[in-house]
Symmetry: D2
Subunit: 154 residues, 4 copies
């Protein structure tokens, strides 16, 4: 995502309007401030967009028993579901080691699996962003192909 032209392609591709993306990114950054990451010092914020246009946010919440850690993306999903939401169109992730955003942080496998439960793989967009201008986007089906999901359990 080095130059403006590539970004233009990226943005058009996703069908998420630029102003919505910007609002989501800002929300993700804001949520990142509350990250509880005393063990990894890796701080993540996420902003989840519902089909109805509402934004739910989350941060990572770590634990001395590492297994019990929750990622920012899942925090956003669980909060949204608890608020009665079930249909989502996109998520923006802002994550990096403490301080400025220096990486595009893609979701871990656990978070992709949570997305798989609620989102349509061909329509749900995942953005990893370093700034309002420096980001990349993938469809869920690109991030979790050949997935295990509700269909397997019949």
């Amino acid at each position: 995502m080095a130059d403006g032209r590539t970004k233009e392609v990226e943005r058009k591709k996703t069908d998420i309007p630029e102003d919505v993306f910007k609002r989501m990114f800002k929300s993700a950054l804001e949520a990142r401030k509350n990250a509880y990451a005393p063990y990894s010092h890796y701080r993540v914020g996420a902003a989840l967009l519902t089909d109805g246009g509402k934004i739910y946010t989350g941060c990572n919440v770590e634990n001395a028993s590492y297994s019990v850690t929750n990622c920012a993306e899942r925090t956003a999903f669980f909060s949204a579901v608890a608020a009665g939401e079930k249909r989502f169109s996109a998520i923006v992730i802002a994550g990096s080691p403490e301080g400025e955003l220096t990486q595009l942080a893609w979701p871990c496998g656990v978070c992709r699996q949570v997305m798989r439960e609620f989102c349509e793989p061909e329509h749900f967009w995942v953005f990893a962003a370093k700034s309002e201008r420096d980001y990349e986007a993938r469809l869920l089906k690109e991030l979790l192909p050949d997935s295990f999901g509700p269909d397997n359990l019949i």
Copy 2:
């Protein structure tokens, strides 16, 4: 918790005022309506009280890959932490198989571990409730004695 007298003891013991408990229980019931439990059909709602008197709620959110499931208690904690909260005084849990509340649902080990990260074991109260009048309460230290926690990692 068979009779009124025992309940009286229980309530006084916790130092959570009756009206606050009732408000929490109502919130937990409300949150339970959003439980996403297509696999277990076990539905749980939880209401978490901050030291500042705010209530955050959560429901269980299941997944076709069972490991990825999140409990109601943790949903409430993660939402609260994402909103900037770090200090908590009590949680009320309302869980049972689909339909009316027929059980006192105590938290699983994972949720106790999340509580351990943020709450003081000698002061944080956990309520399992079937109704406004039928409930029991334990201190976190009673539910997770000899715990593994942040101190272990030094």
Copy 3:
């Protein structure tokens, strides 16, 4: 994977010799018998091949608190690591609802993330198999592209 010709392509592609694959599949089936799946009734066995040619197996192990469930693939990895193994070349997965194998069971996101920690995405092969003759294979990089991994934590 409808016909023999496609399968031929599939097998050659992976560089896992046919007899090794067959041995792995047999081990996965055997492990599947020990699956503890009283909640989902979905039973999975897995066989993991080390670079040194040893096979470690695993089955899924469920829990009343669904989050605590472990998949067959992870059981195999954890057993292998506990035995001192760190380098792996392939895994065969045999999973379906109780009874005969009727599905190609691809790994959930959590298991892909465990693979990501120990395996080279461009070289580690994941097989989903219904029988010795009916299976498909993917490289880990195909199943977990744009992954979050050890590099992110610096």
Copy 4:
């Protein structure tokens, strides 16, 4: 566990013969050597005793996505279940930050929940050990009272 007399009481209490405990502790130490803990540098080994007298071991296996980490105790349980075991009498845990054992490492909530699925709370013994002579023991029911378990799901 400061003095010999207390330890004597402790040992008699558990009904696990001294030589069996010593064998388990040695196995746990051995397993600890394979701990994969590049993130926490906290290394744990565990040895699980079946009712039939066999010992299964495990170590902790961490992951860049912290949630995906597995503890030593669970590794031992999952390996044992995959080998066809279902009945257990005791586990010995040897954990501490890198180097010598300096702590009694009690199991996290997740591991207690796995124990709850397979073990009888009134009969299963959990040992946290620093050496053959310096350890403590608890019954599972002491470590996870008022538990959520299979009974809740009916």
